[in-house]
Symmetry: C2
Subunit: 438 residues, 2 copies
Amino acid sequence: MDFRTIIAKRREGMVHSKEELTFLAEGAAKGDIPDYQLSAWLMAAYLKPLTDQETVDLTIAMADSGDRLDLTGVPKPWIDKHSTGGVGDKTTLVLGPLLAACGLSVIKMSGRGLGITGGTVDKLKSIPGFSTDLTPKKMVAQAKKIGIAVAGQTAHLAPADKALYGLRDVTETVTSLPLIVSSILSKKIAGGADTVILDVKCGSGSFNPTREQAEKLADALVAIGKLAGLKAYAAITDMDQPLGSSIGNALEVKEAIDVLTKPESELSPNTKRFRELCRYYAALALRVSGIAPTAGEALTRIEDTLQSGRALDKANQWIKAQGATVDFNETSWLPVAPVQIELHAKMAGCIGKVDARTIGEIALDLGAGRHEKDDEIDLSVGIVLNVKVGDLISENHLLATVHAATPEAGATAITRLEHAILIQTTPIPPRPILIRPA
Amino acid sequence: MDFRTIIAKRREGMVHSKEELTFLAEGAAKGDIPDYQLSAWLMAAYLKPLTDQETVDLTIAMADSGDRLDLTGVPKPWIDKHSTGGVGDKTTLVLGPLLAACGLSVIKMSGRGLGITGGTVDKLKSIPGFSTDLTPKKMVAQAKKIGIAVAGQTAHLAPADKALYGLRDVTETVTSLPLIVSSILSKKIAGGADTVILDVKCGSGSFNPTREQAEKLADALVAIGKLAGLKAYAAITDMDQPLGSSIGNALEVKEAIDVLTKPESELSPNTKRFRELCRYYAALALRVSGIAPTAGEALTRIEDTLQSGRALDKANQWIKAQGATVDFNETSWLPVAPVQIELHAKMAGCIGKVDARTIGEIALDLGAGRHEKDDEIDLSVGIVLNVKVGDLISENHLLATVHAATPEAGATAITRLEHAILIQTTPIPPRPILIRPA
């Protein structure tokens, strides 16, 4: 087979056979097809989108382009929860141990952050001793024993997606729906998943700025997921303002620990909103896996698991199993930025906007994220927000605290942050965290 | 400027600024833009074609991506004739010296062959001692002295086109009209041309299989050429059957020498058809350059220049100036293939088809051309055709002679050739060589 023929077919909008897509995935995985040919195909596929059947075939071909994780022996039900990525999204840190404590097996491959979107793997690096570098064998053994394992992505799983994803980023072909869907689902299938819960983010801090785009992505993920043999569920949640109060690696770990250790009444309003998201997805997972027959029973069980400390115990068990030399019972071990600067409101009013994209960019420039894939990150820096859309505030109210490496970086961040948080005179309602349930 | 922004604009069908296309051409020439990004842009440009103004801007940007040949001091009128490429096209070998002998200055950069299309540079290699490796300085000095210089393409002229052309070939983006036009014209402009005559081939042996495609290309070459400041003329000629009798490097040189040395009456019918094409383009050149006011006067002058031997003398002067140790007065120095096999007609009838594509492929496989750009070629091998479409033949009529390196290669070629030459019972008219005049 000559890959040029495959490029020409895509260019003409013709339908690829399964064999052609397998040839593509294997060639991309092995490096047999040069990047410049893959790029030409990607652009053709962007402008002449794959059909559903082609997307399924590509998904499975990419999942089969490397090893598949064999979860045999891990107690069922299994769950894999995936977020399309957003600013301040630390959900896995709470949801993982919470679901494991409820009796599900949580096996998850997480990514590193790139651009304004943080990565769970980076956040977990704030925990001294914690390693995400697990072999497939170790992952499965750990999941069998304690019901949870979270590893960084390995080159052995879905290597075709790794090759294509790297090229999409630099050839302006990221936002093709079939390519996004096959990229997400191929990694889930290669990771052994049978049930996947997808958190599709919508708003300025995600790559779905509009609700219409988010709905299309959610629908496509569920439809293609089902055709590919998965039980797939997708809800749409708000990413127009950041999730929770904290943006930045150690700061987000701290917020997740707060949710695991404190009663809801002691949490900040922003963190309560994050807790609500965790509760929603936890309840969904319990229902679809058959552990709780109704939403009511699911929520009761979740509250009980959180309030009894069983979720915290599971979290401690989990991080110890992956090498942590500390635990979540206290947080004095977390790295702290040398400079903290507060931003106060210059006027009274209603919070009209807390722009997730801009705040993500500020955190990125403070050093919390990566501009290029090999950049070093600073675990301690970031932003703690003290307001959310709809809050009524008085003059001089604390809006946010910047955690920076230097006074200069902090001052720059504060100036930019002033423009990201809009105070208006007309009151507006708060933004619901859940935009569309699964 | 980030090239990703340029890719995204093309992807959305937005119009590029001159600055963006200059950034592209310079980046491609210097190797600053990676191949995988250029490929993505090429596919986007294929599916969202450049406007005329963008094509002009790209043409000029590519012409300016390297050196421009400075023809100052070369006597005017200057002429550059370019063929879009076909099977058996040895026109430059006759037209060059013929026009130079008529008082024009012919300065031409010629390509090597790739695929079924032969290259003038390869044909000229059949002449012992002849070198196409001229410096720009030497080219200009020679053109000043004798009115003709033909060199191989140099990396210094239009390097952006070289980079893009190489990628187009392997990414199925060759056949985009604006990309073809800017590729052809950028090289002409970089070569210092002011007047360009374009021979647009049409038929199975060219990349314009249909008349419609050829007309679009001819019209675009003229329109964009004019916008780019050239005097541009394009005629469409037949390439459904090969041009002339010979396909293969030394064999084509021999045919060109025949035209320069023999009266028309002594030429084979196929070679007469090739001579007719040379006459047409020579007359066009004389008219557009103002040397002959009417077609009639132009043709008289051409016949006189050929029949008097002045074209032959100019050809000898030319090849000596470029190092030839032989001359065109006789041809015993031409390399001859060790094996010649004749193909005779199995039935009487009318020649219905002499398929240029298949015959080009047979010549290629005999060793006359290159499959890959670094292949060695065999100068002596090829095919001599003795029939053309519309000829009425009796049984056992000589159809063609294969010149091969081995009896096996010759036998294979003969078998394939039988299928490329169709003999039918219904008579059909001959194919005119000129499909649409300039």
